[in-house]
Amino acid sequence: MTDIPFLSLAIWIPILGGLLVLATGPDRNAQMARTVALLAAIFGFAVTIPLYIRFDAASAAMQFKELAPWIAHFNINYALGIDGISLWFILLNAFITIVVVIAGWRIIQSRVAQYMAAFLIMSGLMNGIFAALDGVLFYVFFEASLIPLYLIIGVWGGPNRVHAAIKFFLFTLAGSLLMLLALLYLYNVSHSFDILAWRHTGLGMTAQSLIFFAFLVAFGVKVPMWPVHTWLPDAHVEAPTGGSVVLAAIALKLGAYGFVRFSLPIVPDAAVAWAPLIIALSLIAVIYIGFVALAQTDMKKLVAYSSISHMGFVTLGFFMRNQLGLEGALIQMISHGFVSAAMFLCIGVLYDRMHSRQIADYGGVVNTMPKFAAFFMLFAMANAGLPATSGFVGEFTVILGAVQYNFWIGLLAATTLVLGAAYTLWMYKRVVFGAVASEQVAGLADISAREFLLLALLAACVLAMGLYPFPFTEVMHASVDQLLEHVAAGKLTPRP
């Protein structure tokens, strides 16, 4: 289709940009670091736009493919390509990178170059995860992306940042190393690390189940699924605003993406056999974590738990294996990328002014920050799944899929609409409405032009996706249908 390697550009421009930012050196050149970072982020986003424009929505095949031998000794290739499932995540990631660079523009005053570079490098690595078609290439990007996030949480995070950073790193490392063993096993069976070829590698039920559980640990930790979710609230609370944004908007999607790219197509029979387990865990995440979110007194923690609950929806959608569920889950992932990013930015706006994340310290913010209150309202509604926002499309479609699958599961899943509305709007009410809580709140300044720009950008995305989701779903159909057919056919006959 084209000779320009857009995917490679999407991966390496941010990484090289990050190295360039590092070269600006100490903090006295901070302004230069910021400018270079912004340019790299914008340029990195610009090269992803042709991916959407030139994408052939009718085809389920991988597009923009690139292939070059990397480590011939183990038959490892630098193989890239995207289908309708991965396309939007690359765009989302590149977009969020711009948001993060702007969000950290003023707040970050120490080690600016390192901060910006960490985000840019991470953005490139994450694009690599979404574009990789080789198992080892995927794994390498998957793990390497831990390093910048570890540093971001640990260097620029809150008071308990060390604990959070190390917990985050070890949890994810433990999961991904098990995945490495599964990848090695697949290599020994198929003599290839080609993810697409693995779809057709014959595997017995025992092997499939073991691989399935290795993937489950790796991706489940990353999603995160109940009961391995405990690192997320810690990491979110301690991370700087930019870190929380990337964590919620992109990093959580990696695990879910792994389920679609690895678990479902490579071990379809095990995925079918163990689907009830995943569905049960997902429902626990949706309902139980929803209640946990209700009890939070810290805004960031509340949104972190709400993320876990929303991601439970995503895994639920995947493992019901019908078109509504799977597409709804994918839309939910993209929507959650926008909405959670916006929620964390809003909390960041408040935190920058008050240095508190406690709901109790606020009240009556609308009196002093009306513009902010309006934006926050929109995002809170989107988080609760109000129609005409992006949150509604995904949740509603997954619920439809769930009802199709089993009425009672659909009913349980639908409780999220109540719970989500309860914890989000109750928080909103306590923070924004009511009497002005303190002198400090009375003295708050409304959002600056820079903050306005950020929130307006995200608001536009949230509304656009809520009102006209067609561009998002259009590209997915072919790939999703093919995946579902593949999972339905399975590898074993007769199916155990």
């Binding site: 990397w70 480590i71 011939a72 000794h73 183990f74 080690r111 390192q114 080892v136 794994y139 390498v140 793990e143 390497a144 831990l146 390093i147 570890y150 540093l151 640990g154 260097v155 940042r161 060390v162 950073a165 190390i166 790193f169 070890l170 490392l173 433990a174 190393l177 098990l178 490495l180 063993l181 090695l184 096993y185 290599y187 020994n188």
Partner: protein
């Protein structure tokens, strides 16, 4: 008895180094300031000689006691490089402590010669002579700071335990000789595979051989000397101790076990399996509790050697050695990767030390990112590489050996290695945490000479570069094993 002059060509490098060692010995008496330069020239010349004689064919000389092959050449080149870098890093450190004496370089060169002989041995006695030459030089080096109690104590400990291990090895060799009637490794290999040797004697000998090899590699349960000696030895010597001898010890293991006794693989693989599992568990758990960075790196070294054994023990499956090249090649790759990382890690310790101050505690790395962002990022490379995180060479080292373990079907061992890697990641992360998350306590500027800083930078960058492009080295390691072990 007619005398045939042996062919000297395959041993060019050894002869050169031996002659240069004599020159160095003279220098210790007459030109004491030249010793360092002479040592470096020796290593460079030896590298040149080895490169000149590099080839894929296998040559034997000195009545079959000596072999010249690709495996030997590759290992020797790695040894020269490790020794040259170690001498460079150590020099200023030694000078600041008035230890920069020519005898140091003489011992280092003699030790290099010992390692070369070990690497090129094709005969049990050649192997033993090389080993002793290396070990005796090392004992003296460990005790080199003779006025420091810790250094002499470490030297004594190392000597006593090392002598015991040499004894075990020699005893094992005598039993192998008793059972097969041969000392030449290929002859032993033939005798063992023809089953013309008495098996019980052979197996008893094998136990002693494996014990001796394990001691020299520093793997559990023969690891007790490692932390004490690493900590007690002058840091410049620890740097030597933790790098090149590991390559020589790998050569010892490869020449003896897959080379000479591959027919007994089922037996020694089981022994190595236990040693590897014990090293992985003990090395990683004990490293968690360390405050001294030299001790931490010692325990981490034990776990790394355990990891390397994973490659050695998965070559032969059910009597077939179809996986052997990749497995042994993986172990060789691991050893080279470990030496590179270890050089950089101890190089950093030396970089942070200065006259009157030893950066021996992990806490001394606090706030390095504020003192020197460049060296902080290099140390970050080293730590993540040791933890096995991509894109660094340490990841592909772990990848290569894990691949052979999985291919051999030892899933429980692979799972254990993986779990222990996660535990191990914690103490590497702690160093990164100190460098990046904490503020410096000590704000003294780094004082290392420019040469050290440049080479240390290249060393750190090589860890990243080889992680991005490991193909050439991986292929070379496999090629070396293909020409040497399987046909040899």
């Amino acid at each position: 008895m007619n005398f045939v002059a042996p062919e000297l060509y395959p041993a060019t490098a050894e002869i050169l180094v031996a002659l240069m060692a004599l020159a160095l010995m003279l220098a210790t008496a007459f030109a004491r300031t030249l010793a360092y330069a002479l040592a470096q020239i020796t290593l460079a010349a030896a590298a040149f000689a080895t490169l000149l004689t590099l080839g894929a064919d296998v040559n034997h000389t000195f009545s079959g006691t000596f072999v010249h092959d690709l495996l030997g050449s590759l290992l020797k080149l790695a040894v020269y490089l490790a020794m040259a870098i170690a001498l460079l890093y150590g020099r200023a450190w030694l000078a600041a402590r008035r230890l920069d004496r020519p005898e140091y370089y003489l011992l280092a060169i003699l030790m290099t010669l010992g390692m070369m002989v070990m690497i090129d041995a094709n005969h049990l006695l050649t192997l033993y002579i090389g080993l002793e030459m290396m070990s005796l030089s090392l004992y003296a080096l460990v005790a080199f700071d003779r006025d420091a109690a810790r250094s002499t104590e470490a030297g004594m400990k190392y000597f006593v335990l090392g002598a015991l291990a040499s004894g075990l090895l020699l005893y094992g060799m005598s039993m192998v000789y008793g059972a097969t009637g041969a000392l030449e490794l290929p002859v032993i290999a033939r005798a063992v595979s023809n089953q013309s040797a008495s098996e019980p004697v052979l197996l008893l000998g094998l136990v002693f051989l494996v014990a001796g090899v394990s001691f020299k590699l520093g793997v559990a349960p023969f690891h007790m000397w490692v932390p004490d000696v690493y900590q007690g030895a002058p840091t410049a010597v620890t740097l030597i101790l933790a790098t090149a001898p590991k390559l020589a010890a790998l050569a010892l293991a490869v020449r003896l076990l897959p080379g000479g006794l591959s027919a007994l693989a089922a037996h020694w693989q089981t022994m190595l399996m236990l040693a590897a599992a014990a090293s992985l568990i003990l090395g990683n758990l004990a490293a968690l509790a360390q405050h001294n960075i030299k001790r931490m790196l010692a325990y981490s070294g034990i776990s790394h050697m355990g990891f390397m054994l994973l490659g050695l023990l998965s070559g032969v499956v059910e009597g077939k050695n179809g996986l052997a090249i990749d497995a042994y090649g993986g172990a060789l790759f691991y050893a080279i990767a470990y030496v590179l990382m270890s050089l950089a890690a101890f190089g950093m310790v030396i970089l942070l030390s200065r006259a009157g101050f030893e950066a021996e505690n992990i806490e001394d790395f606090k706030g390095l990112n504020r003192r020197s962002p460049w060296f902080a990022v290099l140390m970050l490379f080293v730590m993540f590489s040791m933890a096995g995180v991509p894109f660094f060479i340490g990841f592909f080292a772990k990848f290569a050996v894990l691949q052979s373990v999985v291919a051999a079907g030892h899933y429980w061992l692979a799972a254990l290695a993986v779990v222990m890697s996660v535990i191990g990641a914690f103490y590497y992360l702690r160093v990164v945490k100190l460098m990046y998350f904490d503020d410096p306590v000590d704000n003294a500027p780094l004082q290392a000479p420019a040469g050290v800083q440049v080479i240390l930078s290249l060393n750190g960058l090589a860890i990243a570069a080889l992680g991005l492009a490991p193909e050439v080295l991986l292929a070379l390691c496999a090629q070396a094993m293909r020409t040497s072990v399987i046909t040899g």
